[in-house]
């Protein structure tokens, strides 16, 4: 024992060595993360302060806050911002409202439940571009679409959904894609509800609606906040569905922030303006994230 004590190095030195090893082992991933996120961010910030338009190479140089000024005073920007919020809120309401009801439904015993569950989950596995195309050409097309055929069958005039209600239609398509995710998470949450709690509620003479309102819904609180958080992160950047169906139009009726930046950069070749849009989007996403993470974290703690 004595010998061991004498030969072991002082405790402080061991800690130092361990720290250095840890740092060395961590450094490759830290480096990659830095290159991956910081470099593009700095480049975006730099371009957003430059006059940089691909179709007019003669105009270049430091622009100051001009790009931001043009963007923030552009009526399209406000419109796109509003569209983004409407899309996020609308899809959240549809997917969580519908998801909760479907989760409770799929928790019941009924014939063919296994197959029904797989079918309700499957839209989530379809690529956004593909599902947008399916909806655009197969379901909603004013001439060939299934809905048009159904409307004609009862004597109604088919509606050109994407032209008449572009934002609502995009919202519907995105909600169709995200509803399965909500169902999946909420179904597992419903199933984790203690059976004896439901039975206790039955003994307390709670009917199905009272059980849903007072037992199941509070139990789902955490799962719902997780769904809200994850969906919001993705819904702020909806792009493929808009690009495939309406291309942001008519006008800017279905343009959200992500699509606005894209159209500035790659349709109008205004790299400087698009970068300014990107920076604004980052700021907005962070504001949303701070509020969201706080609200959700509080909910998860309780």
């Amino acid at each position: 024992m004595q010998a061991v004590l004498e030969h072991s190095p002082p405790a402080g030195a061991t800690v130092q060595t361990a720290k250095r090893t840890g740092f060395l082992l961590l450094s490759p991933s830290v480096l990659i993360l830095l290159v991956w996120s910081i470099v593009p961010l700095v480049m975006t910030l730099w371009y957003s302060l430059q006059n940089y338009n691909l179709v007019d190479p003669t105009l270049h140089g430091f622009a100051g806050i001009d790009n931001y000024w043009y963007l923030l005073t552009d009526p399209d920007f406000l419109h796109a911002l509003l569209n983004t919020l409407v899309l996020v809120a609308g899809v959240l309401v549809i997917s969580i409202g519908g998801g909760t009801l479907l989760a409770v439904l799929y928790d019941q015993e009924f014939f063919g439940r296994g197959i029904a569950r797989i079918m309700v989950i499957s839209p989530f596995f379809i690529m956004p571009t593909v599902s947008a195309l399916l909806w655009k050409n197969l379901m909603l097309h004013p001439i060939y679409g299934v809905y048009s055929a159904m409307m004609r069958a009862v004597g109604l005039t088919p509606i050109d959904w994407l032209a008449r209600f572009p934002l609502m239609t995009v919202m519907m398509i995105v909600a169709w894609e995200w509803l399965p995710f909500a169902v999946l998470i909420l179904l597992t949450a419903v199933q984790s509800l203690d059976g004896e709690q439901r039975e206790a509620a039955r003994m307390d003479a709670a009917g199905p609606i009272a059980r849903f309102r007072y037992i199941i819904l509070p139990h789902l609180g955490r799962a719902i906040s997780v769904v809200v958080m994850i969906e919001t992160i993705y819904l702020l950047t909806i792009f493929a569905e808009i690009s495939v169906t309406t291309a942001g139009g008519p006008g800017v009726a279905s343009t959200n922030l992500a699509y606005l930046i894209y159209s500035r950069a790659l349709l109008q070749f205004d790299v400087g303006g698009a970068s300014a849009g990107g920076v604004v989007a980052i700021v907005i996403a962070n504001i949303v994230a701070i509020f969201l993470v706080r609200a959700v974290a509080r909910n998860l703690e309780a």
Partner: protein, 367 residues
């Protein structure tokens, strides 16, 4: 307060019959305990009474009314679950209030009632706590409180103490008995713990594989088990058994020959049994007496000293182990040879079909 009557109650899951025709009547204010090994159907039977499981056939009567098809909440029962099943997002007050609120009781009346019950159960300081902030014993009390406020006709308990540690279980057992005396409510209690059954019950129902093995007071079951199963199940450590040959009997008793050739005259009647039939002799460990010499000798294999009592495990010549419960200060040591005396009046005889022979004299405490 109410009576409960079960008439040939049956329950079938798919093709398997779980409850095989149980008839039972429970009097007002009675504390009835369903006891049996796991899988005997005791919890299923309780859940059928509660209305949480459908009744396949037979009649369930509460206060003389057939309630087979009445919703659980409308039967006038309250149940305490094994996991307590408190609503985790509601505080103690709201947990107790939930059922009352749904039944449309006015706010003031609810408050008065809950506060009264909380005082009885010493829950007043915790009314604003969530179940997650309470200890196991406190949660247990909240679950009981939630049952009491509804003023039910019958209380149902489904293994309520099995999640508590031994000390707390003992304490809650006493509290439950006191509470039952105070409320005087008809109570049905399911447990696998025979100590709970023996200490709390007015009437014990021993179940095995969906049938009733015996119904009786705790001491009736202890002194006059109806068959081998009940004899083995009630009492700890369990009764010792050995085989013997029936020799003959008269009105005052029956005589049997043990393996080692000695014979025993037990005061039980044996109508119609042929001499030469193989029977089983049973005697509880606390009734076997140790002697230093004599017949029935064996070697001490294990000694468990519990302080107040000592359990001596004796290996008999035929290889069987007989457990003897004796004084805590007994000096016997492992590997010594001891003799066992079997007082005949404490012996039980069981026919080949497992049924016990009728005792000639009922035990005074089990009349």
């Amino acid at each position: 307060m109410a009576t409960v009557e079960l008439k040939n109650l049956r329950k079938t899951y798919l093709t398997e019959e779980i409850i095989k025709g149980i008839s039972l009547s429970i009097e007002e204010r009675e504390f009835v305990v369903f006891v049996g090994p796991s899988g005997c159907g005791k919890s299923t039977l309780l859940r059928m009474i509660a209305g949480l499981e459908d009744i396949t056939s037979g009649d369930l009567l509460i206060d003389g009314q057939r309630v087979n098809d009445v919703e659980p909440g409308k039967r006038g029962l309250a149940m305490v679950f094994q996991s307590y099943a408190l609503y985790p997002h509601m505080n103690v007050y709201k947990n107790m209030e939930f059922g009352l609120k749904l039944s449309g009781m006015p706010e003031a009346e609810r408050r008065a009632k809950i506060e009264h019950v909380a005082r009885t159960l010493q829950l007043e300081p915790y009314l604003n706590h969530k179940p997650g902030q309470l200890s196991g014993g406190q949660r247990q009390r909240v679950a009981i409180g939630r049952a009491i406020v509804r003023n039910p006709k019958v209380f149902l308990f489904d293994e309520p103490l099995s999640n508590l540690d031994a000390a707390l279980r003992g304490q809650m057992r006493v509290e439950l008995s006191a509470l039952h005396r105070k409320l005087g409510a008809t109570t049905i209690y399911v447990t696998h713990d025979q100590v709970e059954a023996m200490t709390m019950a007015d009437k014990i129902v021993v179940l095995q594989k969906g049938i009733v093995e015996q119904i009786g007071s705790p001491l009736e079951l202890y002194h006059h088990p109806r068959n081998l199963f009940v004899a083995r199940f009630i009492g700890s450590p369990p009764m010792n058994f050995f085989s013997a040959i029936f020799q003959g009997g008269d009105a005052a008793g029956s005589s049997v020959q043990l393996r080692d050739g000695s014979s025993l005259y037990v005061p039980v009647t044996s109508p119609g049994l042929l001499p030469g039939t193989k029977v089983t002799v049973g005697i509880r460990p606390e009734h076997v007496e140790l002697a230093s010499s004599g017949p029935n000798s064996g070697v001490v294999e294990v000694i468990e000293r519990l302080g107040a009592i000592t359990l001596v495990h004796v290996r008999m010549p035929d290889g069987e182990i007989i457990v003897v419960q004796t004084d805590g200060a007994v000096l016997t040591d492992v590997d010594t040879r001891v003799s066992l005396t079997l007082p005949p009046r404490n012996c039980h005889l069981f026919a080949p079909d497992g049924l016990a022979f009728e005792a000639c004299h009922r035990h005074p405490l089990a009349a």
